[in-house]
Symmetry: C2
Subunit: 342 residues, 2 copies
Amino acid sequence: MLKIVVDAMGGDNAPAEIVKGAIQALGERKDFSVVLTGDKEAIGAELGKLSYDQSRVEVVHCTEVITNDDIPTSAVRSKKDSSLVVGMNLLKTDPDVGGFVSAGSTGAVLTGGIMLVGRIKGVMRPALCPALPNSRGEQTLLCDCGANAECKPAYLAQFGIMASAYAKAAFGVKNPRVGLLTNGTEEHKGDTLHQEAHQLMKQLGCINFVGNIEGRDIMYGDVDVAVADGFSGNVALKSMEGCGKLVSTILSKELKASIWSKIGCLFLLKRLKNIKNSLDYSRFGGSVFLGLKKVVVKSHGSSKARSISCSVVQAVDAYRNNLIGTIEEMLSVTDLSGAKDA
Amino acid sequence: MLKIVVDAMGGDNAPAEIVKGAIQALGERKDFSVVLTGDKEAIGAELGKLSYDQSRVEVVHCTEVITNDDIPTSAVRSKKDSSLVVGMNLLKTDPDVGGFVSAGSTGAVLTGGIMLVGRIKGVMRPALCPALPNSRGEQTLLCDCGANAECKPAYLAQFGIMASAYAKAAFGVKNPRVGLLTNGTEEHKGDTLHQEAHQLMKQLGCINFVGNIEGRDIMYGDVDVAVADGFSGNVALKSMEGCGKLVSTILSKELKASIWSKIGCLFLLKRLKNIKNSLDYSRFGGSVFLGLKKVVVKSHGSSKARSISCSVVQAVDAYRNNLIGTIEEMLSVTDLSGAKDA
């Protein structure tokens, strides 16, 4: 049976919300089991509060935890009995394990992914790829959103290929439209990196490159994939997050401001719920770390049970939809070795 | 009397909304007049629909218009009788003219600003600086948001100085907190450019540098000034714009979805208006082009009368609050000549 490993100790709300989320996911998809890595006692205490099919849950005890204060490279090397390292080693060695989910330190997930799980042959730089809601009611994939602060044109081209494979495999998009995130839509826009990446991506036969896009186009939904260097992709992602938070702060303040507004809200209960759901991007799960030999999902550090559940489901689906195979296939028909600085 | 020149032909809604906005601004501030540059007849037709004090409005006829399809540098050189070039020349030569407002081509405003108005002595690169609403109900200045796609560390340091001067002069912030927009808050985060800029800004005595910030911090409001290279600043600005648009699309759809939701809205009329106002950043005017010898405000291309009015008021206030002098003063006490690549 397919197994998904969940790092029960990673994230602000570990282990309670992580364990709860992993168990919730069992109800969403059949025929898979979860392996929880972490402190046996702490996990057991959380499991004790829940009802679930015991044949679908396994706990692997570890004594260490990697935190945000650890230096990723040395932590992955030295904390060999941490929930993250043990989990990733299971992912690497156990053929039944199809995916790994962690809400822990992003740096450690990235480092561990590359050092322990390893890259698909030909991948220059793995990249983080979340799915974001857009105004068409669909999703836009943003790749890279933070794994690679410093990029070369060929990396960006490869992000476009890997995220296209993800859009096809996970979301069933037939011919994903790929845009390059810059500071304007005209072809000459951007710095040297993005100008060169544009020319390179234009020549790729294996992706449907539609040209440069601006930050606002990510959420407008005119593309399925927004390719970004990890620096500005991260800036885009977090700027949208900040804007969402501002809106929700203002909404919440105003809707509770008077007795009249509270009465108004009673008429709007269903609508407010719809609004919340439309904007809640945790329904897409976490960011997939594209380019690794196996499925790794990085869930938000502040993830609660629902986000974790979505991330586990995302890992199950990515495995079953052959995400890794699709990336390998698309990469195999592309030769970027001639690209400058590739 | 102080004069503000308004490019009546620039922007998607020119000349109607531009003329209307300029006239509205006359009601907001006393003791200044507007000079409208553009086609005399078209402007006259719009003025004819409005009632205003004729002694405070002047029209300077020009026969040409610079559009978004023009190449900025050649357009500024060749279209000498365009509303933008004529306006900027007035700004440069007429000592009574304190500011210039345009909703026209950003590229042409930037090129014209540098070529015709000129830089303050010591300014390496002028930068675009909008004010954005934050969750404290105040404003965060984002500098640069698009004038310089390719930057050097010393440029970023200077953006911090100029935007601090702007926060002091225009918003009365005593000791503006300056953050550097990167992909994480830790000191080592970012690419080489931002790592070097961080070290440089840390050493500047004239600004209150608080360290690296992330995209979400722009709207959280923990800083008064967010310093960015023009590429990622533009990505941040437009990503927030896209997010705002998505939210407003969803809100509008849901609130009109049923008879019950429409009834609910009746109870919420005042609240919905407050929400709209809180998020409407056009109340701050446009982006000031910091580093020029005179006040230049770039209003959004899609500006309607209200935005233009706010931009004109912004220009009046920036002039009266001695924005240019404050920038000159802060620059005069800073020596960036030793910075790498300065």
